[in-house]
């Protein structure tokens, strides 16, 4: 997958799960303030990403620091590349 494909996959998965408009999703979009997610949603966000990309990320320290969609894009892209290179 290219970086762009990963970003598109993330955005479409989260748009479906959290009923958020795709056209309003930018890397700067904040998960809590703008998308209106809360702590329960973050648990589900992790499951959505794990299912979409076939990887385990729940225990990753970096997950706790994610605040924007761009943070998720960077995290997943890095994780995918790390998996591909290992």
């Amino acid at each position: 997958m290219t970086d762009q494909q990963i970003v598109e996959q993330i955005n479409s998965s989260l748009a479906e799960e959290f009923e958020y408009e795709l056209e309003n999703m930018t890397p700067e979009t904040t998960l809590f303030e703008e998308m209106g997610l809360d702590s329960l949603d973050v648990v589900d966000l992790v499951i959505v990403l794990e299912t979409a990309f076939g990887m385990k990320i729940r225990e990753e320290e970096a997950i706790r620091k994610i605040r924007t969609l761009g943070d998720i894009h960077s995290f997943v892209i890095a994780k995918k590349r790390q998996t591909e290179n290992s």
Partner: protein, 409 residues
């Protein structure tokens, strides 16, 4: 005896006839059936019944995702019905959040559909890793009551009675007692259930589900009829907004009817089979609670689900107390058996019968079973002054319940 007078100032319904009281009553008055074939049932080994009465006219997305994520269908039904009841009563957000209003809403169990989805996934590899955070809120026993309270911003008491078919009758009765004791001024009360093959299967296993009309679904269930062959399961939600008379008068609310009596008892003779003596005792206790003589009751809204034993036992009990003096009908022929929702869907119809001065007959009652001919059945839509009504519900587990309504003067 209720210590303070309790009245009904709002109602909401989700049923096979759609959402809202008007749709519910239109279905009854047009003599329609909400029963249809359910193809899903034919794929289940051992399932002989193929029909059910499924709710219609509901758009879950009317409820914001933040609240909907913790709901299965039964909570969606209950929440929409509660919103309609609150609107009908003229309550605003501050009334709902005043602490004077509580919730008394039950279901037979937590969401069977969500439970099935969880175990289907869990059993593939014994893993919790795909479990969503809100799943528990679908399956907890007080799912409907809590989801209603969260969505409407209710801060008063939460009660979630669970007694299968007696659930909503009890929910209303206990809510009325709470108001009568001065613990709450208003209560959203009732029940909800969602259809699942497990429900039909439960009755089918006990040879109590209808199986002979799979190809003509609107002809079943047939309460009191010679050809009746069992229950048809349904779903939906019925909600009554109860209020102390003082509160209703103080707000200038329209009063739809008064709740004057309630009783519930246990029948330890059998966990499955109804006993006429216990049913009669329950109705008698409700009459005492209401300080009403049997001769004052115009109409009995029967539980009558179209089972062989249940209809006969209820007729025997009604006959013992009312003779042929009160008219009797069951609304299960129209709606099937909506389980925890049935009591309040039928109570809502009773309120409308009082208001409109008419009685609704039992759909599909073409030839009265001689063993059910000891009471006076409503024959066709009958214009009839209705002052006092008793509503029965009886549940597996030996739980009987009766509510008495009266026209508010």
């Amino acid at each position: 005896m209720l210590l303070r007078r309790v009245v009904i100032t709002g109602m909401g319904a989700v049923s096979p006839f759609g959402r809202g009281l008007d749709n519910l009553m239109e279905g009854f008055l047009e003599g329609r059936s909400g029963v249809s074939q359910v193809p899903e049932l034919s794929g289940i080994t051992g399932m002989r019944t193929r029909v059910a009465a499924l709710a219609s006219g509901v758009d879950p997305k009317e409820i914001p995702r933040k609240y909907r994520r913790s709901m299965s269908n039964m909570s969606v039904f209950a929440t929409l019905a509660c919103q309609d009841a609150a609107r009908m009563a003229g309550l605003d957000e501050s009334d709902l959040a005043s602490g004077k209003l509580g919730v008394s809403i039950g279901s037979t169990i937590g969401s069977p559909q969500t439970m099935q989805e969880f175990f289907r996934d869990f059993n593939t590899d014994n893993s919790l890793e795909r479990m969503k955070s809100t799943l528990f809120f679908h399956i907890m026993n007080h799912s409907c009551a809590s989801n209603v309270a969260q969505t409407l911003g209710v801060t008063g008491r939460i009660l979630a009675p669970s007694a299968a078919c007696s659930t909503s009758c009890q929910a209303v009765g206990y809510a009325a007692e709470m108001i009568a004791m001065g613990k709450q001024e208003l209560m959203l009360s009732g029940g909800a259930d969602e259809f699942h093959p497990l429900t039909s299967g439960t009755f089918d296993i006990m040879n109590a589900a209808s199986t002979a009309f799979n190809d003509s679904p609107t002809r079943t269930p047939r309460p009191f009829d010679r050809e009746r062959d069992g229950i048809v399961c349904g779903e939906g939600s019925g909600i009554l907004l109860l209020e102390s008379l003082d509160s209703a008068l103080g707000r200038g609310a329209t009063i739809l009817a008064e709740i004057i009596g309630f009783a519930t008892n246990s029948d330890p003779d059998s966990i499955a089979n109804p006993n006429p003596a216990a049913i009669a005792d329950c109705m008698r206790q409700a009459l005492v609670d209401a300080r009403v003589q049997p001769s004052e009751v115009d109409y009995v809204n029967a539980h009558a689900t179209a089972t062989e034993q249940g209809d006969i036992a209820e007729c025997e009990a009604i006959s013992r107390i009312f003779g042929t003096g009160a008219l009797v009908s069951s609304l299960k022929g129209h709606l099937g058996h909506a389980m925890a929702a049935s009591g309040t869907l039928e109570l809502a119809a009773c309120v409308e019968m009082i208001r409109q001065g008419l009685l609704i007959p039992t759909l599909n009652l073409d030839n009265i079973d001689p063993l059910c001919s000891n009471v006076s059945h409503v024959q066709g839509i009958t214009k009839h002054p209705v002052e006092t009504v008793i509503k029965n519900n009886f549940a597996l587990g030996g739980v009987n319940s009766s509510i008495i309504l009266r026209r508010y003067e």
